[in-house]
Symmetry: C2
Subunit: 348 residues, 2 copies
Amino acid sequence: MKKRTTPPTLSEVARAAGVGTTTVSRVINGGERVSAKTLARVRRVIDELGYMPNQAARVLKGDRTRTIGLIIPSIADPFFSSCAEAAQAVARANDSLLIVTASHNDPHTELENVNILISHRVDGLILAPANSQGQALRELLDRLSVPVVAIDRPVTKSKVAAVVSDNFKGARSATQHLIDHGYRRIVCLTGESTLFTIQERIRGYRAAVEAAGLPYNLNTSIKDYKSAEYAIESMLAGADPPDALFTLKNSTTMFAFEVLQKLKVQVPQKVSLLGFDDFELASAVRPSISVVQQPVEEIGRVAAELLFDQLMGRKHPSLSAHVRRSGPVTLETHLIRRASCGCIPAAV
Amino acid sequence: MKKRTTPPTLSEVARAAGVGTTTVSRVINGGERVSAKTLARVRRVIDELGYMPNQAARVLKGDRTRTIGLIIPSIADPFFSSCAEAAQAVARANDSLLIVTASHNDPHTELENVNILISHRVDGLILAPANSQGQALRELLDRLSVPVVAIDRPVTKSKVAAVVSDNFKGARSATQHLIDHGYRRIVCLTGESTLFTIQERIRGYRAAVEAAGLPYNLNTSIKDYKSAEYAIESMLAGADPPDALFTLKNSTTMFAFEVLQKLKVQVPQKVSLLGFDDFELASAVRPSISVVQQPVEEIGRVAAELLFDQLMGRKHPSLSAHVRRSGPVTLETHLIRRASCGCIPAAV
DNA sequence: CTGTTAGCGCATTCAC
DNA sequence: GTGAATGCGCTAACAG
């Protein structure tokens, strides 16, 4: 229980070990060019004193801080926390620390976070832009002297690299999947249409139904259980009730599911359901819900790798070059076939 | 798009503004004792250059880093990510940055994380000890010159403050609740029994059944769906089948739930179910699952507040003193009555 | 192999 | 009100 007010410094170690500061510095940096004897002695002293190098001083010397920042809407959101976990693994592998902050999807908080991280001299930044179009963010980012990678949503009109799911293709093939099942009146439900991801998904849905000559029916009013109930109930009571629901985000999928349960609508016999984005619930619920799964961990991993590529001076020219050439890295989604679309029997 | 290789420094700002470094320093620290004119000019230059103070240099001056560390088993675990979110809010309120790292419940990784954070000179540390008994951790922590607060699990035999749920009382009253419902053959299921939290819950369960003169029946074999199926199936086929299941952790609750579904056992008519720890699924599933809810955000919040209390020199002597006196801060759990225990009708 | 020294960017005396 | 000088802990020349 030797609490000191101030941690031991390198020169204290040097003094205690009877050597110069350089020697100690060498020891803590791998012990090159130091005699075995000295090395051992210094190491012992370091241990006794509980010495830990002061990163701040290193940073000041102009070195990298070996920290990278990640700004996401919420730490508690499973999608982003999985990204974070994957990114952290990559950061560790690159001997760096990942600092995660939450923007709560608020552009102002986001800018603030960028500034905080920059003043902590992170070597690079990964972020899920609260507002893809925001020009304040774009300007700030373009001024930054560190590399930036966007995830989930690209920063429009900017050169910053981005790693996103292929929302368009994922939605299109999901819709096509419903069509292949024989459904003909497929309505697309969401509660949000400004987000880049959602827009892409809408495009995908549209492409599929139009290609098949089926009606395009989009409803963006699903904000909560109530609105979902109202929307779905009126549709089912309407002239041309849907035989399939394609929901574009988790909350919408859940609301739709609960409403169908409440209304005792048989899923998928009467109405089938397919959601974009996977979630724990989807597989556990009865009937289990088919979904388009995003490569969550991969997004975090690839984004971090891309960042370190840039930091290291583009060791993988292929990937970095690709990004510069063709915009966002687009990662494939994966259709998870469960019961709600009719792929597997509803009874467990 | 003015990318510089190296960010502007305070002295550059000073030169550009035609003032001394001291003046700039004053400006960025609130602008006391600077003439309005100079202030405005310096501010403008700062803006033009996109200057951001280098935290590293400040830190080196001996100030606090205004960062605190949080080490949790996994960022992607909803329980801990909610804690993290709450702790981050408190950190922000104290003008500090929260750095979250994942230990994956591995004592070695945990020690490593402590060291990394310490070398980054965090002002304080919050952690969920991978192993409450681990003496390596205890020793390291006791040597640290920064305050530490443990969450979820205390560090045994150590003086570090801790914030935990009242696992014992929560489990006891949950069990009592089942007893009050009239269930008599209550079995307690878990897949883990070394964790502090689980042990406490077991104690709680035991206290309740013993007080009621009911049989004590603990099964710690539930590691996955398979083992749950085996265990539950044989119990139900056995001589004295349980009429209630008390599961001690989320995964166990889910496995048990799925097995009961698969076996088409009526819940709660045939067997009721009550789980420790709430999760999204629990309320969405049919029948909805009754649970003991932990004050997740509160744990994160209180832990962070406790930490800042210590950093600020104990502004709330009441709380800090309390902690020193009586060990862990114990936060009340809350019983969420849903369908699976029989509290509300199973049909939605 | 090892020690001496000069800054890194900033806050802080202490003069002016 | 303002500025010049000093040192925080460390690394990277540059001697020895």
